[in-house]
Amino acid sequence: MATVQVKQVSKRFGSTQAVDDVSLEIAPGEIFGLLGPNGAGKTTLIRIILDIIRPDTGKIAVFGGPMDEAKKNRIGYLPEERGLYADIKLMSVILYLASLKGIDRKEAATRAEAYLRQLDLWAYRDKHLKELSRGMHQKAQFIVTILHDPDLIIVDEPFSGLDPVNTRLIRNMILGLRDEGKCIIMSTHQMHQVEEMCDRIALIHRGQKVLAGPVMAVRRQFAKNTVEISGSGPLNTLPEVEHARQINGTWHVTLAEGITPQRYLRVLARHEEISVEHFTVALPRLNDIFISMVGADAAEEENMTVMPTEPAAEMTSIEKGVGG
């Protein structure tokens, strides 16, 4: 049974169609990436799922039915803008919010201690939140999100404000929760995190779902007939090659129409003068897909994390010496 079912949900605010006929199903044990530019309708959709606002049309089922108080106790939510109560002590806020999730105070204190120690915040438990750094705030709020062991976790930009060490810590915790069978909805603009962590994604643009599916399937869907190859011999001059350019010793080869990477690989193998050290079918980055779908302007607005130094793709990697 899907943890979250969104069926043909629409929501309009005045003249703005915030969500337009969106349907999704998100299962336990998966990390679902909810992507889209600012103002696309992601947060509205999350709020509709959380029953903070009601849709104009369509239906939402969480844990198999409409939201109720018991189900709210099984949900953890980390909103994008974070603050909590600045003038309250860290431990006090954690225990208060845990109490609203139906967790016994003693149990909450035990769990809080474990998480605070894990995230290196134990020494700050009696500090007022206003005394903590942005990264500490972020970690504190992540603790609040998962302390009650929720089955559905919705995190909006979970890595913002975190240094690489803490990003990795939170990332591993989220992956661990997925492995425990939790259903995780993650909204982020850090596309490399989506590629590394998400099982499936949906791209929302102007309230509509414009793209959805498993991450690899989406990347394959947008893959051009391109391979990356390194080695020696006339790799770039074969008739199967339409266009090739060399970057840092690696050839980025666009294949001629009708030539598949597999066929090109077989052709390479037949040429004894060619030696192949590395062969990769190039898949587009989610970042590039995002830009192609929502436009470069929106991408700039997003300040998306682009990783130009990494190889363009690495879905199928074959390392083989051919004929050498």
């Binding site: 605010f13 509205t44 709020r47 959380l50 903070i52 606002i53 009601r54 108080e69 709210k72 106790n73 949900i75 953890g76 939510y77 909103p79 994008e80 803008e81 974070r82 603050g83 909590l84 109560y85 600045a86 309250i88 208060y96 919010l97 109490s99 609203l100 999730k101 139906g102 609040v144």
Partner: protein, 398 residues
Amino acid sequence: MKKTFFIARYEYWRFARRKGFVFVVLGLPLLMLAAFAVIFLVFSSRENRPVGAVDETGILIAPDIYAEIDASPPFVIYTSEVEARAALEDEDIQAYFVVPAGYLTTGDILVFHAGDASEDVNGEISDYLRTSLLAGSGVAEDLASRLGAGGLDTQFISLLEERSGNEIASFLFPFFLGLLLMMSIFTTGGYMLQAVVDEKENRTMEILLTSVTPEQLMTGKMAGLVCLGMTQILVWTSFLLVGFLIIRTNVPELSLIVPPFDMVALGVAWFVPYYIIYACFMAIVGLSVTEVSEGQQAAGIFSLLAAIPFWFMLLLITAPDSTVAVALSLIPFTSPFSILIRYGLTTIPPWQMILSWLLLAGTAVFTIYLVGQVMRLGMLRYGQRLTVRQILGGIRSS
């Protein structure tokens, strides 16, 4: 229900620990105590040195006889004005008066004083002279004592009401009680504005709403703040009561006045729903604005509405059963204060009491519902103001 209680408890302690709250709760009674102390000091330092008397007619009785009548300040008779003047200059006496030889025909008395003589001197001299004149007039002793100093024992009996105590208390108690309750509402009720603006803008409210419904959240907050307000009232009235009881033991005239506990109960019954309405209004304002300062301006409108009974105060006192007074005690924004004032001055028909409370409580329940609706709407507009039209539109579409 349990979650609502948690919210109430949290909100209560969150604000009760604030220095500002503690200062207001304890500061006001301490200020009142200081005022009492100043009044006490003024009265205790009142001029009580003797008053000299120079009798040129021979009618004055011996001061020790007069002293039996418990005169304050005491009198000292001097044989000549020179002696009296010397005593005045030596500051042995605060003033002296001369009964001139022609007093019995002119009735003129001369009073000499240096600095501020006690205000009581004039009355005391009159009493002394009257007592002296009566002592030598041959009037029967019991009759003389009636005509003399302290002979007048007036009792005021009101034909309008059979209330114990006096009319001043019937007005002053509800007035001050109402004033305290209003002050409590405006101080602690204002916390709601701040809490809502903060929680909305830092998105804590969204986290809370993934645990509770908007109605649970608002009811919890409301209960916490009402308890906070009641704590304030409890502390203030306790101080007042203790202060009053101390004064009553020292001022016999006040012994008939019994603290009107029924009035306190009435005040609480009316002010709790009023408190909820005010806090809800603050919450709606908080959800509609992006900064506390903007909200405070809007809060001024409510304060104006709440001040209406003060504009009609004279009417409420002089004609507590008039149509306007009845209307004021039925309209939810003005009813608590109006009912309290009228309760002290007249007998309010039960139907008016019941209708007044039901209208007030009904409005309180409606405003909680209203806040829930506005909250769903306000959540979407964080960083933006909500207009009245948007609020009404949102309520209609919900």
